[in-house]
Amino acid sequence: MKDVKLTVGGLLEKAGEEPLGPTPFPSSIELREWDMTLLQRYKPFYMPFCDLCCLCTFGKCDLSDGKKGACGLNMNAQQSRIVLLACCIGAATHAAHARHLVEEIITKFGRKSPIDVGGTNIDIEAPVTRVVTGLKPKTLGDLEAILDYAETQITHMLSSTHTGQEGNNLDFESKVLHAGMIDQVGMEVADMAQISAYGFPKADPEAALVETGLGSIDTSKPAIMVVGHNVPPAIGIMDYLSQNGLTEKVEVCGLCCTAHDITRYNPKAKVVGPISWQLRFIRSGVPDVIVVDEQCIRADSLDEAKKIKAPLIASSPKNCLGLKNRTKDATDDIVSDLISGKTAGVLILDPDKVGEVAVRTALSVAPKRKKFKTIPDVQEIISNAKKCTKCSECRRVCPNDLLIPNAINHAANGNLAKLAELYDECIGCCRCEGACPNDFPIHSYIVKTAEKKMKEEKYKMRAGRGAIQDIEIRRVGGPIVLGEIPGIVAHVGCANYPKGGIEVAEMIEEFVKRRFIIVTSGCAAMSAAMYKNEDGKTLYETYSGEFDAGCILNVGSCVSNPHIAGAAIKIASIFAKRKLGANYEEIADYVLNRVGAVGISWGAMSQKAASIASGFWRLGVPVIVGPHGSKYRRMLLGRKDRDEDWYVYDARTGERNYIGPAPEHLFYAAETKEEAMVMTAKLCMRPNDTTKGRAVKLNHYIDLNKRFYGNLPDDIHLYVRRFSDIPITMKDEIIRILDEKDWKERTIPDPTLLDRLIRKRET
């Protein structure tokens, strides 16, 4: 690390605009004490995914019943080790994506090209990078040094998982938090680079409303499907179309984060939907050419492309799919080979060449393909359903235990409605097909029977706006910290939903009506768009895109998530004037105790989602995941029944004060959306809330609890600090409970977990 500090030292000096805090470019050790403070309150609860460890040739080792492996590792440490591995994978993926983007953009725009994510509306353009490293990047070239640091840290974290390295579960957990923090840095670098270079919306609350959903695609035109996370190849396509006057003649439609970023570049592109829409879209036959870049892409995309006779172009060295590298070949030759079917796919690592090849191929292939699809007709479905052996294998491999056998049984009798009903809850994994002994294409049956519904999927999603403006932070910083805006709720992450994406939209609508600030990103942002109210409008059409109470703003793709963390950091820096540069611990302490923010990743699926979440934990932002998120095998749970866990210092006096379990958990899987909503309202409470703010927050918590649980929460007495905290309309019933619990008024401190922030000690 010393080398890294020397390398960036020049940049720090060059920045030279703010006094640095205590931890510039920290290794995991500098922030270990903060991690241990968090982990003391939010202890890991492990749920092993396997009794065994099989990572070295000593093994397999059985770790059940308190046994240790041949290396001496116990089950707790093994679980935290796997969590660290997952977070390193996630952080490495974002950092590598950032490196790839920065290299590409520097090649095109030059190292001295300025960082600009919001013009004059943003002074703190890199809040995460600055709070972590102390560096204020000004040019694209400055981003390289930041990535040097991130890559070094990720390598160190990954090395800790080797056999015979770290042996303590809490130290593994500390490294998990470090990997998460570094992940936020990598993501921020990626989004800063692409916003600056490609002219994405710059902190624009009125970013364009873009067409979303399968039904929004004009199937009379050739269509190019782009999927993944690295946008340059998709930009190559849009640029080629524009330069050749073809923009109106070809549909460019995206899935997952490439869809976000291409619509940030050009709102004429369309969003098909979240990542789980991949198979249904390919099998619909609509795409004439499929362009894959990196991350979250189905490994069998080439096989699926072949089935519909659509050529595939792979465009990332991370995802070559066994295809021949044609980057240096003549464009005419590549196009010719794809059109003739001589090759089913090619690897092209030049985004501009991808653009030309994709467009020319699509234009030639489309008239021949005539939207050839692999969806069976109704008669075939009914006929095959009659041959079903009722083995239930399809249901037993379905992640959501969908009642597929029942639906097939109805189909055998000519009733296809039950199959169509599965469409909304199906996550498109296609495991049912692999399990079927008759090789029935069950996923295609579902898609066919829901064809009408699919064609009606026409929505509007606001394109990713990027960062939050400084002026917005100034406007809402006070009400958030005092608790008068009840909270910031961020819906982020993947689409592994237990009951379909509509639950995301329902949760968002509930909280935006309650005047929380709602932030979205990634696949969750798309799911939020795929729901219309009684006026036929989506949430994005109904609510403003500002960072304010009762608004919904989409920050963008996965790598835009640091704008959410950045907003919390900027509240500490801009509103509360806390020192920003290299001052991570103090800022995280501020966020944990004062900023009522909660992240929800209802369909969290990937290792990236794990590292994104861990970046929020270290910053003091709790994260709720859906029930599938329990498969991350470790929760970070507070215990409200242990009073001793909920003491903080009063920074004014040094006195230790009980603050109640706020926030109660740091990482938590909810069983249902109803539970998630009650917990969201609860996790927005912070020790620093004013009495007015706490009354507002309690009002939401109690109201939701009554609605979904049918009673008053049994822990109200832990959250009421003063009589003036009690919501006025609930006074009688709450006072009755307080009397039963022998409740007494208590002090509201100036809360901190950091001894060094005490201004005047009691003598």
């Binding site: 609860f45 492990y46 749920m47 092993p48 995914f49 396997c50 009794d51 065994l52 059985d62 770790l63 059940s64 019943d65 308190g66 089950m75 294998e393 037993r396 491999v397 992640p399 235990d401 399990a435 237990p498 029930p627 599938h628 329990s630 498969k631 095998r633 929760m635 749970l637 215990r639 029944d641 958990h665 938590y668 899987a669 909810a670 069983e671 249902t672 109803e674 539970e675 917990m679 979904f708 649980y709 049918g710 009673n711 049994d714």
Partner: protein, 180 residues
């Protein structure tokens, strides 16, 4: 009656639950337990059992031996709707976390539980919770009563149909108390 995990890929390792082939075995376990607890998830009010729901059987089971009930997620409302007021509302992650703590004195502060029966939690979530308790709470016996084999529980019903589960529960309710 198969005792392959209901979700077939969910294979845990060498330590697996004992299949409850006969309801009498569970009746005996419950009778011998000093401190049983029943944890009921939201799916219990979704699963049909003839003219009743699984949650109705859970209430009957709780009443048969005054077993304290934890209702997870929003299932507490379903208990209220049925006139059952004694359930404690708690997220499933919270009750699992407390059960894994050997020093936790229970909902009534009267000591640790020795038998935890789970009904109506989503399969994959329950799978992980049973795993957590299997590894972190060696003195607690756990039971899965959903008719879908849970390999990480101490005891689990095998994979049986709703009708077979209904018969299992009917006999269980008849036999509880015979061993006391």
């Amino acid at each position: 009656m198969s005792n392959i995990p209901w979700q077939k890929a969910e294979i845990p390792g060498p330590k697996r639950s004992i299949p409850l082939q006969r309801p009498e075995t569970l009746a005996s376990l419950i009778d011998k337990s000093k401190r049983p607890i029943l944890i009921v998830g939201h799916r219990a009010s979704e699963i049909d059992m003839a003219d009743m729901k699984l949650i109705d059987y859970a209430i009957n089971l709780a009443n048969a031996r005054s077993i304290p009930v934890v209702a997870t997620a929003h299932s507490i409302k379903e208990f209220f709707n049925r006139g059952y007021r004694n359930a404690t509302s708690m997220p499933v992650m919270d009750i699992a976390n407390r059960l894994s703590d050997s020093e936790w004195n229970g909902l009534d502060n009267s000591g640790a539980y020795d038998l935890a029966i789970f009904i109506g939690i989503p399969y994959y979530m329950a799978w992980l919770i049973f795993s957590g308790l299997k590894h972190m709470s060696s003195r607690l016996q756990t039971v899965s009563l959903d008719g879908q084999y849970q390999p990480n529980a101490s005891w689990s019903t095998p994979n049986i149909s709703p009708l077979e589960l209904q018969k299992f529960l009917d006999i269980l309710l008849e036999r509880i108390g015979e061993n006391q």
